[in-house]
């Protein structure tokens, strides 16, 4: 399913997992579980040895996954086996894409059912070549906006994004956080774009997910909280978290 189609039924819940954690073979099952429990989009992280935008939880997951044998070939094989009626989105670092070749990587995404890419270390100034490859392959390239992105820079980022815009809720790296900053609400208001706005980084509870939806976001993204539950082998807890978040965002802004 395309992202544009999914966003017709907003608000959405987007769930991130690190592919290959704890084992490459578990990824298909976990992705399908997320979709079943109510995730509207599944973000499939490709583990990298040097994930500079990630906090300790996702760093550790990436390390486990690499050690368990996850690599780009295994990743696409897993993605193509996922049977779920939700869009799959790639999330990963630029060197993994560059190394495979931009055109080949974008085509592999399209061929394995991935409809969009999020590349956290690729600002719009560096994204031209990958954007061209994505356009050719017919997949979206989703840009990120940070809390400290100056207002005059927002159009550059927004115009170079497709699918949705990823609003980073706070500075620093990925990982759960107790409070949702007032600045997140301001950020959602500040960003003017026809694209859907998805907010991530630091969202770990149904209450926080509901809060960003009430503040005007079109989607809430949960990452480290999922990865944390998976690291403890608590798939029942993962299912419960996703159900809880989905219900909470539905109440926050009834469809």
């Amino acid at each position: 399913m395309r992202l544009a189609e999914a966003f017709e039924r907003r608000p959405l819940l987007i769930a991130y997992i690190c592919a290959g954690d704890p084992r490459p073979r578990a990824t298909v099952e976990i992705a399908e579980l997320l979709a079943r429990a109510g995730a509207d989009v599944v973000e499939l992280g490709l583990p990298h040895s040097d994930p500079i935008a990630d906090g300790p939880v996702i760093q550790a997951a990436a390390q486990r996954a690499i050690e368990a044998g996850m690599n780009t070939d295994v990743y696409f094989e897993a993605a193509s086996k996922i049977r779920a009626n939700v869009p799959l989105v790639f999330m990963g670092y630029y060197n993994m894409i560059f190394r495979r070749g931009l055109d080949r990587f974008a085509k592999d995404c399209a061929d394995s059912g991935i409809t969009g890419l999020i590349v956290p270390d690729l600002p719009p100034e560096e994204a031209g070549p990958l954007r061209a490859a994505c356009r050719k392959a017919g997949v979206d390239l989703i840009s990120l906006i940070a809390p400290n992105t100056p207002i005059e820079r927002i159009p550059l980022i927004a115009e170079n994004s497709s699918g949705f815009l990823y609003l980073v809720a706070r500075s620093g790296v990925t990982g759960a956080r107790a409070d949702l900053q007032e600045s997140t609400k301001a950020l959602i208001e500040r960003v003017k774009t026809p694209l859907p706005k998805a907010v991530g980084f630091g969202i770990s509870t149904p209450e926080q997910a509901a809060e960003v939806i009430r503040a005007g976001a079109d989607a809430a993204i949960v990452g480290s909280a999922c990865v944390d539950l998976i690291s403890r082998g608590d798939l029942a807890g993962l299912e419960e978290l996703i159900r809880g978040m989905k219900a909470a965002i539905g109440e926050a802004r009834p469809i």
Binding site: S49, A53, T72, Y94, F98, R99, R100, P123, N148, P150
Partner: protein, 399 residues
């Protein structure tokens, strides 16, 4: 030949800013502040005074008579080992710390491998009254206990890095993560010419004092330019520092000596060397497109060298470019050649070189013809810090 363009973020196809959006604004603010300050007379005066009176510049250019006799040519040593702290690192650190102060930052963070950049950062933090925290891999902390103690003595806090390979590359990752959440109060003091723009440019310019002095000194001593300038390369800051003085002198050969470690092959996760200019491939590491050591999928390999300061799986993007356009010649010295350089220079000249700098000396011993008739070797640091490593290597139980 257009070698570099100071106004650009790239050196040919290398360089750039491959960083999370959160870091784009801090990098922009840093580039603007540095661009403004580097032409500001007051800033230049302050930096120049610290370089002379605190750090001990200018450093001598010393004609190594016995080494010259042995190699049948004139070999000069640029004595960065005599700089305060025992290595060239302070040139960069003083400049960046003054930039940080002018920007109103109250805290410095730095990464360190062998500990030399960490020690230099701690010295400057103490001197300028800035809180200093140094990220250091757990493996390196174990290898370099003395430098950890030096940093603590100087009032800095050493933060152990337990992620990834627990070495220099992971310390840089951790410093970048810290900075993404702390830049409002904190300056990230990067120690080499790697990383996203403006670091490769800024660190090269702050280190260029080495090359500027050396060029003037050799002209005074010999009345002509050297045939070759050799320097060891890990990230590349001492090499870019001295090379930058001679970039336009196209008859002067610039030799970048990389760590050959224990061989030129690579395992699944660990390479046997740190020779990115010689054996690396295009890729992105720590925010820059450069030559890196990586596996077929783009995972970064761990590098290896007996010299911790050359143990890095990437290299400055400007060096990658200068090698590509043919202005810099890449070379390799392995652990054995470095140890040879270490002991020969000690015996011949009464100078114990850092194991890093010993790679350049070792290269010269093995390839004297590459130096021409008159050459300069950048002696980037002194070897006291390496005694335990060398004793261990000789089976004398240095630790």
């Amino acid at each position: 030949m257009k070698i570099t363009d100071a106004s650009m973020k790239r050196f040919g196809r290398f360089g750039g800013q491959f960083v999370p959006e959160t870091l784009m604004q801090p990098l922009k603010e840093l580039a603007e502040a540095y661009g403004r300050l580097k032409v500001d007379p007051q800033f230049r005066g302050e930096l120049s005074a610290l370089l002379s009176n605190y750090a001990g510049r200018p450093t001598p250019l010393y004609l190594a008579k016995s080494l010259s006799r042995e190699l049948s040519r004139k070999v000069y040593l640029k004595r960065e080992d005599l700089l305060h702290g025992g290595a060239h690192k302070l040139n960069n650190v003083l400049g960046q710390a003054l930039v940080a102060k002018a920007m109103g930052k109250t805290r410095l963070i730095a990464e360190t491998g062998a500990g030399q950049h960490g020690v230099a950062s701690a010295m400057v933090g103490a001197n300028l009254g800035l809180d200093t925290e140094v990220y250091m891999g757990e493996v390196d902390i174990e290898r370099q206990k003395m430098n950890v103690y030096r940093m603590e003595l100087l009032g800095a806090r050493v933060i152990p890095v337990r992620s990834g390979s627990r070495t220099l590359k992971d310390a840089i990752n951790e410093a970048m993560r810290d900075w993404a959440g702390s830049y409002e109060t904190t300056h990230y003091l990067m120690g080499t010419v790697a990383g996203p723009h403006p670091y490769p440019l800024m660190v090269r310019e702050l280190q260029s004092v080495i090359g500027t002095e050396a060029r003037e000194q050799i002209l005074n001593a010999e009345g002509r330019l050297p045939d070759a300038v050799a320097a060891c390369v890990g990230g590349g800051s001492n090499a870019m520092g001295i090379f930058s003085g001679f970039l336009r002198d196209e008859a002067t050969k610039l030799i970048a000596v990389e760590a050959g470690g224990r061989g030129t092959s690579s395992g699944e996760k660990i390479a046997d060397h740190g020779a990115c200019l010689n054996l690396g491939e295009d890729g992105v590491l720590h925010g820059a497109m450069t030559r890196i050591l990586q596996d077929p999928y783009g995972q970064i390999l761990e590098s290896y060298s007996l010299a911790a300061g050359l143990d890095y799986p990437g290299v400055g993007p400007e060096l990658a470019h200068l090698v590509e356009v043919g202005r810099v010649t890449p070379a390799i010295a392995d652990d054995g050649a470095a140890l040879e350089g270490f002991s020969r220079l000690s015996v011949l000249e009464g100078i114990i070189p850092a194991l890093e700098s010993a790679h350049a000396v070792g290269f010269a011993l093995k390839n004297p013809e590459a130096l021409g008739e008159i050459a300069i070797i950048n002696l980037s640091g002194r070897g006291d810090k390496d005694l335990a490593t060398v004793m261990d290597h000789e089976g004398r139980g240095g630790r």
